[in-house]
C-alpha cells in the first residue's frame, strides 16, 4: 500500500482543557499525568468504512425518522448542513457523521434523562449520514431546546447538537457539539468554556444561513467540521536506523 504519511499531530491548544473545575464531572475524570506522544502508526492511520447500504433513507431526517415518516416532530424546523474538511483543506468524502440531540423542550429520549419537559412522541433525536464526494452533509431536524443540568446551582446547557465524525482513520475520531448563533447561554456554559481559546469556541457556533433556508419550510444553519490531516512529504519513509 502507498504510505499516505502520518497524521499531523493534534494541536491540543485548540482543544478543551481536560481538567476544568467549573465543569464538575471533569475533576475526577481527567488524567493527571501527561499523554504519551508518538508518531501515528497503522492503528491510527486506518479506520472503519461505512457503506450507503447501511444508511436508511430517513436516517438524516430527524423530523420524520422516529415515526418512519408517519408524523413530524414538533419544533423549529431547521436544516443543519456543512462540509467536512481536513487540516490541509481537502474534502473528506464518504465519511460517517452521526448526531444526537434533545427535543424542542430540551428533553432527551434516553432512559436516564428525567427532566420534567415532556418527550415528543414523534421525535427520537438521532440521525446519521455519509458525506458526499465533496465532503458535504445535511440533516433536517428541529432546533433543540436548552436544558438544565446538575452542575453549579443554576446551570443550563445552550441549545446544541452533538456530532460524531470518523474521517478516514481512527486517529481522526472526533466528537464535538454545534451551538447556535446568538444563544446567550453559550457565554455562561462551563462545558463551552473548557475551550480556552475564544476564536476556537466560535468555530463551534453555527451561523444562521438564510441562503440555504427554504421559504415557508425551514431555516438553515451551516456547520463545517475540520478533522486532522496527514503529513505528506517526499522524504516520508524513514529507513531503519536513520
Amino acid at each position: 500500500m502507498i504510505d499516505q504519511g502520518p497524521l499531523i499531530p493534534r494541536n491540543r491548544e485548540m482543544h478543551p482543557v481536560p481538567y476544568y473545575p467549573d465543569y464538575k464531572t471533569s475533576v475526577a475524570r481527567s488524567p493527571s499525568l501527561p499523554l504519551l506522544s508518538m508518531e501515528s502508526g497503522p492503528s491510527e492511520e486506518t479506520g472503519p468504512t461505512f457503506g450507503h447500504d447501511q444508511i436508511g433513507a430517513l436516517d438524516n431526517n430527524l423530523i420524520l425518522n422516529w415515526t418512519k415518516g408517519a408524523a413530524p416532530a414538533v419544533g423549529e424546523r431547521i436544516l443543519m448542513h456543512g462540509r467536512v474538511l481536513d487540516e490541509n483543506g481537502r474534502a473528506v468524502p464518504e465519511t460517517l457523521i452521526e448526531i444526537w440531540q434533545a427535543n424542542a423542550g430540551g428533553r432527551y429520549r434516553h432512559k436516564k434523562d428525567g427532566y420534567l419537559a415532556p418527550l415528543d412522541p414523534n421525535f427520537g433525536g438521532c440521525g446519521r449520514t455519509l458525506t458526499d464526494a465533496n465532503g458535504c452533509y445535511q440533516f433536517l431536524t428541529i432546533r433543540p431546546g436548552a436544558y438544565p443540568w446538575p452542575n453549579r446551582g443554576n446551570d443550563w446547557r445552550p441549545m446544541h447538537i452533538h456530532i460524531s465524525v470518523y474521517g478516514h482513520s481512527f486517529g481522526q475520531r472526533l466528537i464535538t457539539q454545534m451551538y447556535f448563533e446568538g444563544d446567550p447561554l453559550i457565554e455562561r456554559c462551563p462545558i463551552a468554556a473548557t475551550i480556552r481559546n475564544r476564536s476556537q469556541l466560535d468555530r463551534l457556533v453555527a451561523p444562521l444561513d438564510m441562503a440555504a433556508s427554504r421559504p415557508l419550510d425551514f431555516l438553515a444553519y451551516k456547520f463545517d467540521i475540520v478533522l486532522r490531516g496527514r503529513r505528506q512529504t517526499m522524504f516520508e519513509n524513514k529507513l531503519e536506523g536513520l
Binding site: M1, G41, G124, Q200, K238
Partner: protein, 199 residues
C-alpha cells in the same frame, strides 16, 4: 509579513455528554429500532479467523468509582495483523466495536478475535494490541489508549518502549483471567492511572 499558512485548525472537541448512547448505541439508550442496522455492534462476523477472546473491565474515575456512562470504541486488525480495507484482510473482521459500561455494574465486555502484530515505520512491529477510544460525560476530549496482552511478547513494542516509568507499562496490559478471557481496567486518574496516548 510572511505568506499565510493555509492549514485549517482541527475543530475543537467537546464532551460526548451523558446521553451519547442515543446517537451511537440507540438500543442501549432504550431506543431499539431507531436504525435498521446499528453500527459497531461486533468487530467480527461468523467465521473470523483466529482465536475469539473476551475482554472485560471497567473505567474508574479518580475516586475509584466505575463510570456507568462511559462509551468505548475499539479498532483493531485481524488475526494476521491486517486492518480492514488493506489487501488480504479477513473479510469477517470489521475491526470496529462500540460497547458501553453496564448501567448497573459499570462493567464492559468486548468479544473479538485476538489481533496479530502490526508493522510500523520504526522497523520493529507493534505487539498485538487493540486501540481504544473512551468518551463520557466529564471527558472533554476522547481518550486514546491500547490493550496489549500479557501472554504475548511485548518486549520489542515501539510504543511500550517509550514509557519512561516502567511500572506504568502494566496499565496497558490485559491480564489473563481464564481460557481466552482477559481483564483490562482503565483508570482515568490517580493511583495506577492508565497511560493515555496522543498519536
Amino acid at each position: 509579513m510572511v505568506q499565510p499558512l493555509t492549514v485549517l485548525p482541527e475543530s475543537p472537541s467537546q464532551t460526548a455528554g451523558p446521553y451519547v448512547h442515543i446517537g451511537l448505541m440507540p438500543t442501549y439508550a432504550g431506543n431499539p429500532g431507531a436504525y435498521a442496522e446499528e453500527i459497531g455492534t461486533s468487530p467480527i462476523a461468523e467465521g473470523a479467523q483466529g482465536t475469539v477472546i473476551e475482554i472485560v473491565g471497567s473505567v474508574y474515575d479518580g475516586t475509584g468509582w466505575a463510570l456507568r456512562d462511559a462509551l468505548i470504541e475499539s479498532w483493531q486488525p485481524d488475526a494476521a495483523g491486517i486492518f480492514p480495507g488493506q489487501p488480504g484482510a479477513d473479510p469477517a473482521v470489521s475491526g470496529l466495536c462500540r460497547f458501553a459500561a453496564d448501567a448497573v455494574s459499570g462493567e464492559f465486555t468486548l468479544r473479538t478475535v485476538k489481533p496479530g502484530p502490526v508493522p510500523s515505520r520504526y522497523g520493529k512491529a507493534f505487539a498485538p494490541h487493540i486501540s481504544l477510544w473512551v468518551v463520557a460525560r466529564g471527558i472533554n476530549i476522547g481518550l486514546q489508549t491500547r490493550i496489549y496482552f500479557e501472554d504475548e511478547d511485548n518486549s520489542d513494542d515501539p510504543l511500550l518502549a517509550r514509557i519512561e516509568q516502567r511500572p506504568r507499562v502494566e496499565t496497558l496490559i490485559a491480564k489473563k483471567i481464564g481460557e481466552n478471557r482477559y481483564r483490562f481496567d482503565i483508570r482515568l486518574q490517580g493511583a495506577g492511572e492508565t497511560v493515555f496516548l496522543d498519536l
